[in-house]
C-alpha cells in the first residue's frame, strides 16, 4: 500500500468543490471577524480550533462586552446540533483509524461528512489515508480562506457575489450521485421533504433540529421497507 503523498494526490480532485466554497466562505468569515477588530492570527486560531462554517459566522457576534458563556454555548449548540447525527454513519470507519479518529471526528463539517460518506475510495489507495487526506485538505482551505479574508478581504478586486453557491452545487451533485442508486431515493426524498416542511413551520433559523428529528423518526417508521434490499451507503 502506498503512502500519504499518493493518498493526498488521489484525494485532491474530490476536494476541489470544497476548495472553492471554503476559500470564499472562509474569506467572508475573515472579513467579518476583522471588522470586529480581530487580526488574521485570531481568524486563523478560530478556524484551526473551531472549524465550523455557520458556527463561526455566528461566533463573530459573541465578541461583545457582556456576553455570557451560557449564551455562547447554547447558541453554538443550536447552530451545530445537526452534527450530532453525522458520526452515526462513520462509527466503524473511524474506529479503525486509531488516534487519527479524534481529528476525523473534530473535522466533521457538512462538506467533509458528505465527501467521506459518498466518495468511493480509489482502489490503489489506503482507505484511512485517503479519508484523512480529505479532512486535512478541507480544513486547510478553510484556514487559508479565513486568513486571506482577514488580511485582504476588502482588497479582492472581483465581484464574488454568489460564489458560495459552490457549496449548494456540491450538495446537489452528491444528491444526484446518490440518486443513481435506487436504494437511496426514499431516504433522500425523506430528507428533502422533512427539511422543507420544517422550514415552513419553524422558519430558516430554527428548522434544522426538528428536521433531523423528523428524518430519524421517518427512517425508523420505514425501516422494514427500507431495509428490504438496503445496501450499505456508508460502512
Amino acid at each position: 500500500m502506498r503512502g500519504y503523498r499518493h493518498a493526498f494526490r488521489k484525494a485532491f480532485p474530490y476536494t476541489i468543490p470544497v476548495l472553492t466554497g471554503y476559500l470564499f466562505i472562509g474569506i467572508a468569515f475573515g472579513v467579518m471577524y476583522a471588522e470586529k477588530g480581530y487580526n488574521f492570527l485570531w481568524a486563523m486560531l478560530m478556524s484551526l480550533l473551531v472549524y465550523a462554517g455557520s458556527g463561526q459566522y455566528l461566533a463573530v457576534n459573541f465578541f461583545v462586552p457582556g456576553i455570557s458563556f451560557v449564551q455562547v454555548i447554547f447558541m453554538t449548540l443550536m447552530v451545530n446540533v445537526r452534527h450530532i447525527f453525522y458520526g452515526i454513519s462513520l462509527l466503524d470507519r473511524f474506529h479503525s483509524m486509531g488516534k487519527k479518529r479524534w481529528y476525523m471526528i473534530f473535522g466533521l463539517t457538512d462538506e467533509t461528512y458528505s465527501l467521506l460518506c459518498t466518495t468511493k475510495v480509489p482502489e490503489d489507495v489506503d482507505e484511512e489515508k485517503f479519508l484523512f487526506a480529505i479532512s486535512i485538505m478541507n480544513q486547510s482551505y478553510w484556514v487559508i480562506g479565513s486568513v486571506i479574508g482577514s488580511l485582504a478581504g476588502t482588497l479582492i478586486p472581483f465581484n464574488s457575489e454568489g460564489i458560495d453557491f459552490a457549496m449548494t452545487a456540491l450538495f446537489v451533485v452528491i444528491f444526484v450521485e446518490q440518486w443513481m442508486d435506487k436504494k437511496n431515493r426514499v431516504p433522500e426524498v425523506i430528507g428533502v421533504a422533512a427539511a422543507f416542511v420544517c422550514l415552513q413551520i419553524f422558519g430558516a433559523d430554527n428548522f434544522v433540529l426538528p428536521s433531523m428529528l423528523l428524518i430519524v423518526l421517518l427512517l425508523f417508521v420505514g425501516r422494514t421497507r427500507l431495509e428490504r434490499g438496503g445496501e450499505k451507503v456508508c460502512r
Binding site: 480581530y38 473534530f106 451533485v173 433522500e188 430519524v216
Partner: protein
C-alpha cells in the same frame, strides 16, 4: 478588539469545545469495541442520503420565493447543476457551470 485577549481566547475555546461536543456524541455512546446495535447500523446507512437531502434545503433556506427574484437564480442554477450532472457525471463541470451561472444571474441579471 472589543474584549481582552483572555476573554477572547475563552470564547473561542467555548465555541470550539461545544462544536467538538456535537460531533463526538455518537462516538462516546458507541466507543471502539462496543457492539453497535442493528438499528443504529441501519440508521447510519440510511441517514447519509437523508442528510444530503436536508443539506440541499439548508443551503437554499433563505431563498426569497415570494418576492423578486422569486428564487429564479437558485432554481435555474440547481437545475443546470443537476441536469449537467445526470448528463455528464463530471463533478467539477456540474459544480463549476452551476456556480458561474448563479453568479452571472445574481450579479448581472437580477
Amino acid at each position: 478588539m472589543p474584549l481582552s485577549v483572555g476573554m477572547s481566547l475563552l470564547i473561542i475555546l467555548a465555541v470550539a469545545l461545544t462544536t467538538f461536543a456535537t460531533r463526538v456524541v455518537p462516538f462516546l455512546i458507541f466507543p471502539k469495541g462496543k457492539e453497535i446495535p442493528d438499528v443504529v447500523q441501519y440508521l447510519g446507512r440510511v441517514l447519509t442520503p437523508a442528510v444530503i437531502g436536508m443539506l440541499v434545503v439548508y443551503c437554499l433556506k433563505t431563498t426569497p420565493v415570494l418576492s423578486a427574484p422569486y428564487g429564479i437564480p437558485e432554481a435555474a442554477a440547481v437545475l443546470v447543476t443537476a441536469g449537467l450532472h445526470v448528463w455528464k457525471r463530471n463533478n467539477l463541470l456540474s459544480i463549476g457551470a452551476g456556480t458561474v451561472l448563479y453568479m452571472f444571474l445574481v450579479q448581472a441579471v437580477f
